[in-house]
Point group: C2
């Protein structure tokens, strides 16, 4: 989406007032106006809204009202608002809109937004829209769409300013004044210096340009910065570059190093947010793709899948318990206390796993310090294992008036927290090493470890200590 300079004061206020949502009354009014097909009233109500707020509003409207509102707004509807709604809502709206409206809307968008809209459409619909667009637009958009989903090529803005190295600062400034607005990007930070083959030679940021003497040649004032992103590269990789080097924009080049577009920080901010959300969901056992606006059955099904895996691990645990059936019968206290050992282990392992997964995502944890962290986590597991072993052991011993429970509980707890720490750090590292997302896959493995080791150790030690059979 374009870096946005328009006044959104009104939006900003509603936004603060209603923590991101509009009050029910306003939403109701809009719904009513839409239902009545009262175009003037709709314009009156939402006409001045900032795209971001219009997006927030669309989220709150009923399925039926959403596309109808777009229709009623006609050419006054800013399609960039569709960049501000969830995936599901966007599809929801787009599939209802006639091709003409789509063409209308897409034509007015910056290339990166146009691509985002097009990739949401069904193949045939996408083709129709592309056909209806002016040739030069079509070519550019087709090229972007050829790049893999989520790649820099999809996210990049293709309208940019590229000039030859022999131009002077003064000439560029004249060029800006003479060129009419539409030929230039809505917002830009730099001019790119390219050779006749459109290979990137360097970048001149506007603040450098305006500081330069009018006679200065661009190749004198440009930065021959080698930092650039390949169009095929994943957006997440690009995001890391932006974060690490505090960039505001970075040129995108094709396989033959030719300049094809520019990535701007605002698109990257979305990528970063998206990554964080996906990591959080994955750690919580939720499909990273799940959106609040998704279809009920889709959500229920995707939750089911993950719970099913957990059920299998739960049965593994129960199998362990079943093998100690007779011991549990002889000493029911073990059935009462077992969950404490398993639970503490699970929670402590989750702590370690969370730290590990996060540190892997931010690249703080890497081959160079992995071993150090592994040992530290084992030590922490040992320390807390000893502490909680003692505490829970004492409580258990006097709860059941059986002093033997102290050593049994303590030893089992210690074992389980160390095992948990080991699993919590090693499992994510292994997944990462083999290019699986540790956030998605670590959870069930780690808790299986702590459940099996927890119950297993506790019941085995108890069997030996109390001579059960």
């Amino acid at each position: 989406m374009p870096l946005d300079h328009e006044d959104a004061a009104a939006g900003a206020d509603d936004f603060r007032a209603e923590s991101g949502g509009f009050d029910a009354e306003f939403v109701f009014e809009v719904e009513a106006a839409v239902a009545l097909g009262d175009s003037d009233r709709v314009h009156e109500l939402v006409g001045d809204l900032h795209e971001a707020d219009l997006g927030a509003l669309l989220e709150q409207l009923s399925h039926e009202a959403r596309p109808r509102l777009v229709e009623l707004m006609g050419s006054d509807f800013d399609f960039t608002a569709l960049m501000e709604v969830g995936e599901a809502t966007r599809e929801d709206i787009l599939e209802e809109l006639p091709v003409e409206t789509l063409v209308e809307g897409v034509r007015d968008l910056e290339s990166d937004d146009a691509v985002a809209i097009l990739e949401t459409l069904e193949p045939e619909e996408q083709a129709e829209v592309l056909e209806a667009l002016p040739a030069q637009d079509r070519i550019v958009l087709r090229r972007s769409l050829d790049y893999p989903d989520g790649s820099a090529g999809r996210l990049m803005q293709t309208t940019l300013i590229a000039v030859p190295p022999f131009w002077t600062a003064g000439r560029v400034l004249d060029f800006f004044r003479e060129t009419d607005g539409d030929a230039l990007p809505d917002n830009f930070f730099e001019v790119f210096v390219v050779d006749p083959g459109y290979h990137l030679l360097g970048t001149v940021f506007l603040d450098a340009l305006v500081r330069a003497k009018p006679g200065a040649r661009l190749d004198e004032i440009m930065q021959e910065d080698r930092r650039r992103v390949k169009a095929t590269e994943d957006g997440a990789e690009a995001a890391r570059l932006f974060e690490r080097y505090n960039l505001v924009s970075v040129p995108v080049v094709d396989e033959s190093e030719r300049l094809v577009g520019v990535l701007t920080i605002d698109d990257i901010v979305d990528v970063i947010q998206e990554q964080a959300s996906e990591e959080i969901k994955a750690l919580g056992g939720v499909n990273p793709e799940e959106e609040l606006t998704d279809d009920f059955w889709w959500i229920a099904k995707s939750r089911f899948t993950w719970l099913f895996i957990n059920m299998l691990t739960a049965f593994i645990t129960s199998t362990v318990l079943k093998t100690f059936q007779s011991q549990l019968e002889q000493m029911v206290a073990l059935a009462v206390l077992g969950p404490i050992v398993a639970g503490q282990g699970g929670n402590s392992a989750t702590q370690t796993m969370t730290v590990a997964v996060r540190a892997l995502a931010t690249r703080e944890l890497n081959r160079s310090n992995a071993l150090k962290i592994i040992f530290r986590e084992l030590a922490i597991g040992g320390v807390n294992g000893a502490a909680f072993g003692l505490v829970t052991g004492l409580v258990a011993a006097n709860w059941f008036q059986n002093v033997g429970l102290l050593p049994v509980m303590a030893l089992a707890m210690f074992t389980n927290l160390v095992a948990g720490a080991f699993g919590g750090i090693v499992v994510p590292l292994v997944f990462d090493r083999f290019k699986f997302d540790p956030a998605v896959s670590s959870g069930p493995f780690v808790t299986t470890i702590t459940d099996v080791v927890g119950y297993g150790a506790f019941l085995t030690i108890a069997t030996l200590w109390f001579h059960l059979n």
Copy 2:
């Protein structure tokens, strides 16, 4: 930190090559050079590193080597590198450095970085450094430090360009050329238009400025954008504004609406990352402040605290089990199967909680749609509860050759997953409503619900069905 335009090609390459870390060999060489106090060698090795990469390197060096490297680099050490290391490492280095070195380094920094360094220092040391700085710097930095920790006032850049409304575009461009570099910010995107009282009238972005006719007055081309941030406002609030409106920078004003600084997107990106990390850690039961580089005992202790709370909840669960001691004795199968009911409930509730917490953080979940989401989650819990009740019930019944276990298991599982869904969505909402961070506090509550309801329902239903006593 300044939005950075320098060449960091080398850094970028190492960075990709070693996933954020330098190879052990290079680190060893640096360590050696530092140990030998070989300043030339150190310059040779790290002199050309980009600040971000120098930061990454510092993280990998030993405690002793870090401050010594800074000393050996002398005035060639770019203090912005200290913005790229973890909190702990920064303190670690700063407390070792003599005041002169600190003054040296801080003087060369942009105001926002200088503030970040100063706020890490001990009060008395901070005072010493401030004293040693030129008066005008001191005044500006003091003012920033007076704003609350994490506020926009602390994050903002105070060097900015403010001009009167009657200036023309041409005059501003001349001003840029005439003014010597040091008086201007290292990088900037806009000029602010202010009245004699320094009240913000509007903003002219450079791309608008260079497009304007030289004779155009700023008050004709400026955007009278009402979006601005109060210096006392929390950085997180500002971040939301940036995200929602895709801003690249926003002016910061004091209580009396006077322009005091500017927030740039790169600082906000750090805030966003920080928030995500804190949310992820909190959900994993880790202190949001915990850094990979923190002190062992600090970490062990903070993990202990949270595990202690979990231990208490674990004992609540065991108390439930203990009340059913005789039933467990009569039918040990219940001890074997109980964990499955409790576990599935816990995992399903965690899914709901994760979605809720994330949606609250992104403001997707708000008063306007809370009720809808609550009902949806209850329905999902019901559907999956029924499904898993049936599956686990069938397995249990034929595992223990006891058909009665089917209805008992099914009913208990259904009850627990519905209860879990309820807890998973309502607990975070309640915490949020009362301004507690739902990410931090929801977990233990939710799992207590599913443990107590899980074991409780399962054993109660079993007692009734099998006439246990």
